[in-house]
Amino acid sequence: MTVRAPIATAEVVNAKKIPTHIRRSHWSWRWLIHVVVVVFIVSWFVPILALLVSSLRTQDDTASSGWWMAFIEPLFTIYNYELALDGAGVVGSLTTSLAIAVPTTVLTTVLSTIGAYALTRMRFAGRAALSLLLVSLLVTPPQITLVPLLKVYNDIGLSGTVPGIWVYQVGFTVPFGIFLIRGFISSIPNELFESASVDGASPLRMFRSVAIPLSMPVMASLAIMQFLWSWNDLLVPLIFLGGSQLPNPITVELAGMAQQISQGQGTLLATTFLSVAVPLILVISLQRYFVRGVLGGAVKG
């Protein structure tokens, strides 16, 4: 505190604002910072831009020149998108992905909130042990579950069905969801629950009218993260959705298209862009909730 004693002269005040060595190398230091930041921005954005531009070029152009040439000799077409949407059945794949991701997201959020509420608001023997079990399951590699579940899924008829994917993705993420929401609910002041309790509210009533409304922001964070995981998941539908009559979910479809050369590159690029458009729009429009979720949870297997 002694360092921050009131200082009168303007020069010293100035020195506090801009430390000496920065003042000395002000110009070159500033430039270095801008260069580094711009390099980051460009290299992280260019691949997405390249995808969009390439998907709007003709097959011949894509095969003979780089995507940046489209800015020099502009020739754009939506033909690739027409091919992808009409011929390649991408609409079917997108709807299958929705049929997986939307219920998975809602169910994960609901069940995690219920579990987190029980873990924070109720006292019972084994609560601490249960919390530890959930934390230790946070980073489980999904691979450890595949061999036995493949057999279980075949035995009970869940394999090749969309609800089978819900069950997997919800069960796999619920420990993370409980962990994320638990931290939020435990920060709700006790008095809010107590006053509701004095008014004679049942546990279910308190859950509905105190815990849920106050937890909405963190539930939104969990929902957007789970939607992204579910929409972007390849391994689980690849393994458990085989034999379904529905079109492949978009990730499985993309992986299949990428591995066979016979499909035109234009269709592949258009399909890829369609598959990333949904999560990109979500993250851009709900960035606040996404960021909060990342910072609140930090880890998931």
Partner: protein, 329 residues
Amino acid sequence: MQMMEFIENVPLLIIVGAIGLPIAVYAILGVGERMLTLLPGPFAKSLRPWLWLLIPLVLIALILVYPLLSTVVTAFFSPDSSTYVGMDNFIWSFTGEMVGVIGNNLLWLVVFPVVTLVLALLAAVFFDKVKYEKLAMTLIILPTAISFTAGAVIWTHMYSYQPAGATQIGTVNAVLTTLVPGAEPVPWLQTPFINNLALIAVAVWLSLGIATLILSAAVKNVAGELLEAARLDGAGELRVFFSVTLRSILPAVLVVITTEIIAALKVFDIVYVMTNGNLNTDVIANRMYNELFAANDLGHASAIAVILLIAALPVVFINVFQFRAEAQS
């Protein structure tokens, strides 16, 4: 027959899954609570938590706990799980062609977390110093919304290779041959060792946003007085970073490292789509997929999964340890 129609009707699936099932869950809670009111107070009090935790715990038991234990057992049995084979599957996992696969995963385990951490630190610290930080952060977060599958397709095109002299249509080779005079284009995905690094770079591109977010939040929380004091003492900007900033954000650094280690362990999508493990790029998770589906060898697949689990255990311990420390404070 009706069942078949249901599971192929997308709008119906969404309505049932996103509206019907949540209502059913709530109804179960309601009915359970009603039954609890019929019981004497203490009973109701001790049963209530288990009513609430019932569905989450059943799912966790079905999807995580039971399969985990079962896989550990299967790892000691023959391909069709009929006979006990002792350590054979594990010996197979560390010999012959598996040596290269494990080696590739070790490369991922070292290079991916280190590169991601260093770049994320750089981004977090430098973004903090510019006015357009929000734009920079948004752009660096964008790839984290993209699936690893789509990322793999995007980068297959970025890495596209034409022989020297021909027009380079891949961005990476075009930049390389333009910026560096006399540089030859590189077949990124075909050259041994280089191709592993090229795949890791894709994972870095896809993951850097999350790591930067976590570190950036920590950097902004470093006490301004500490930085000021160090600068007034004449410490250079690098010195301030290493002795003040880095020290204060160590917990966040640990979170990033452990997250990326787990991601490196179980990396699958990128390798499966871009090379399918050919040209010495195979990794454990892709190998496991092949053992499970192509070879139908449950013993090998399980042993590989158990190795992944054991490799993840240190991170599990760190998480548990930190959780207990936080709970006690």
